[in-house]
């Protein structure tokens, strides 16, 4: 009985420790933002790692997500709504939701795992301590470039993913569902709002910050050798995916019910 209380206590303590640690890291990152020009070289390198390194993954994911959303939408509307609205359904769902969220999930899994593994290995081999001993702030040198790279590259990848997903949906509509390209694009244009694209990109920026922070935070708290690196990598992927999904709900509420609300 006492053991159960102890286990629950440890879980609760760990939770608050992680939340507190994340906020401290956010504070430290904000504290060294003014030194960003000094880390531009590392930031550009990380942008390449996050952006170019994720392109194949985003390509495959987006094309098939677009294709399946086209098939699903056609199945759901076939008896009730004219097929001219197929492009509207695909476009709306991709731009508002599937593009930003799925890009964040697949890129987040790859990027946060790689960051946590890299920084975790640096931590257990004392490279982070060595950096501290050289009077170089590891948050400024390692975390800031990664978070900024994710913040910038996630919206870029999301635009790329949106385009490919719509293209994938259009090709499937044309080939498998007999909906012409002209009909599909007409539907796409019908209810196209720039606000939708902006809100999708704002979400992508927030997801980018979450992915960068979770990768770095979990890397920095690694201890215990190879097993510890594995554990941190797993925590980075799980925490970034969960936080992306939770944040998505709150952002959707703020963006679509308050900021871009088009109701009466």
């Amino acid at each position: 009985m006492l053991g159960a209380f102890r286990s629950v206590g440890i879980i609760i303590l760990n939770f608050f420790q992680n939340v507190g640690g994340t906020f401290i890291l956010v504070g430290q990152v904000l504290g060294c933002v003014k030194e960003l020009p000094r880390t531009m070289e590392q930031t550009f390198f990380q942008m390449q790692e996050v952006g170019i390194g994720s392109i194949p993954l985003v390509m495959v994911t987006s094309v098939f997500v677009g294709a399946v959303s086209s098939v699903q939408a056609a199945y759901q509307i076939q008896d009730y709504v004219p097929m001219v609205f197929l492009g509207t359904f695909v476009g709306k769902s991709v731009i508002l939701e599937l593009g930003p969220v799925l890009t964040a999930l697949v890129v987040g899994g790859k990027v946060s795992a790689s960051m946590a593994a890299e920084l975790g290995t640096m931590k257990v081999t004392e490279q982070i301590d060595a950096m501290e001993m050289l009077a170089i702030d590891p948050v400024r040198y390692l975390v800031l470039p990664r978070v900024v790279a994710c913040l910038v590259m996630l919206p870029v990848l999301t635009i790329f993913a949106d385009c490919l997903a719509i293209l994938g949906g259009m090709v499937v509509a044309n080939i498998a569902l007999s909906v012409s390209t002209a009909t599909f694009t007409e539907g796409l244009r019908l209810f196209f709002y720039v606000d939708d694209v902006v809100s999708g990109l704002l979400k992508a920026m927030a997801f980018g910050v979450i992915i960068g922070l979770m990768g770095c935070f979990n890397g920095f708290r690694t201890h215990g050798g190879a097993q510890g690196v594995g554990r941190s990598t797993m925590h980075a992927v799980v925490s970034s995916c969960i936080l992306v999904l939770i944040t998505n709900y709150f952002l959707a509420t703020v963006l679509f019910r308050i900021i871009f609300y088009k109701g009466a």
Partner: protein, 252 residues
């Protein structure tokens, strides 16, 4: 020259009390060697001296100032006066040897790339390495990595160098090379040094004084001769390397 003092330093990791009231003084210009069993907290104590680990209680003074009260910026300023050689060298594996040695120079000085390259070459020559600037750390042997770690530690001309198990994992000849190097650097750069080791040959060779850490406390401090002649049973058991005695070896 730098003066370091620990006053009643306590540190606990979850349920393991590693340091239980450590008092220690490092005099300017001396080489103090801290010996003790594996896992007794020697490296943790070393990291306390430069604020890499915060004590749960107690104070650490560098030139009379309590560094446990320092904010990060002040801590970084203080660390510029120190160099540290890590057990596994801790070289940045994404950088070349030259970039490792010149890393702090690039960050903290306005020197040109040519000047930095010249300083790196000089520091590497001091540790007996030449022509390795463009190699990756993964291409080096254990002894070479350690020496690159030495070169990186002295790149900013520190007043004090901390050595964490400098001879561990090296063959006896390379261990002697490293010992000679520590003595040479101390003389040439007039360094204060703190060495953590359980290699007694190295401790006798490089140490002006030796302190033994046991069960979280410094139980003995003296010159190498005093260590050899002490009647302290714990120290005697340790230097004789005997399984019999007051130190429990961990199994029957």
């Amino acid at each position: 020259m730098i003066h370091i003092a620990c006053r009643n330093v306590w540190k606990r990791f979850v349920t393991n009390s590693v340091l239980r009231g450590v008092d220690l003084i490092v005099n300017p210009g001396e080489t103090l060697v801290i010996i003790g069993q594996s896992g007794c907290g020697k490296s943790v104590l070393l990291k306390h001296l430069v604020g890499l680990v915060d004590p749960d209680a107690g104070n650490i003074y560098v030139d009379g100032e309590d560094i446990t009260q320092y904010r990060r910026k002040k801590l970084f300023e203080m660390r510029m006066r120190f160099g540290m050689v890590f057990q596994g060298a801790a070289l940045f594996d994404s950088l070349t040897v030259g970039e490792n040695v010149g890393f702090a120079l690039r960050e903290h000085t306005d020197k040109t790339d040519e000047e930095i390259a010249e300083i790196c070459e000089r520091k590497l020559r001091m540790v007996g390495l030449d022509g390795v600037q463009n190699k990756a750390p993964s291409e080096l042997s254990g002894g070479m990595k350690k020496r690159v770690g030495f070169a990186r530690a002295i790149a900013l001309d520190p007043e004090c160098v901390l050595y964490d198990e400098p001879t561990t994992g090296l063959d006896p000849i390379m261990a002697d090379v490293i010992n000679n190097l520590m003595i040479k650097l101390k003389k040439e750069l007039e360094l204060t040094s703190v060495v953590v080791t359980h290699d007694l040959a190295s401790a006798y060779r490089v140490g002006d004084r030796i302190a033994m850490l046991h069960e979280g406390k410094i139980i003995f401090t003296g010159t190498p001769d005093e260590v050899r002649r002490t009647d302290n049973e714990v120290v005697q058991q340790f230097i004789k390397g005997s399984a019999e005695g007051p130190i429990e070896a961990g199994f029957e």
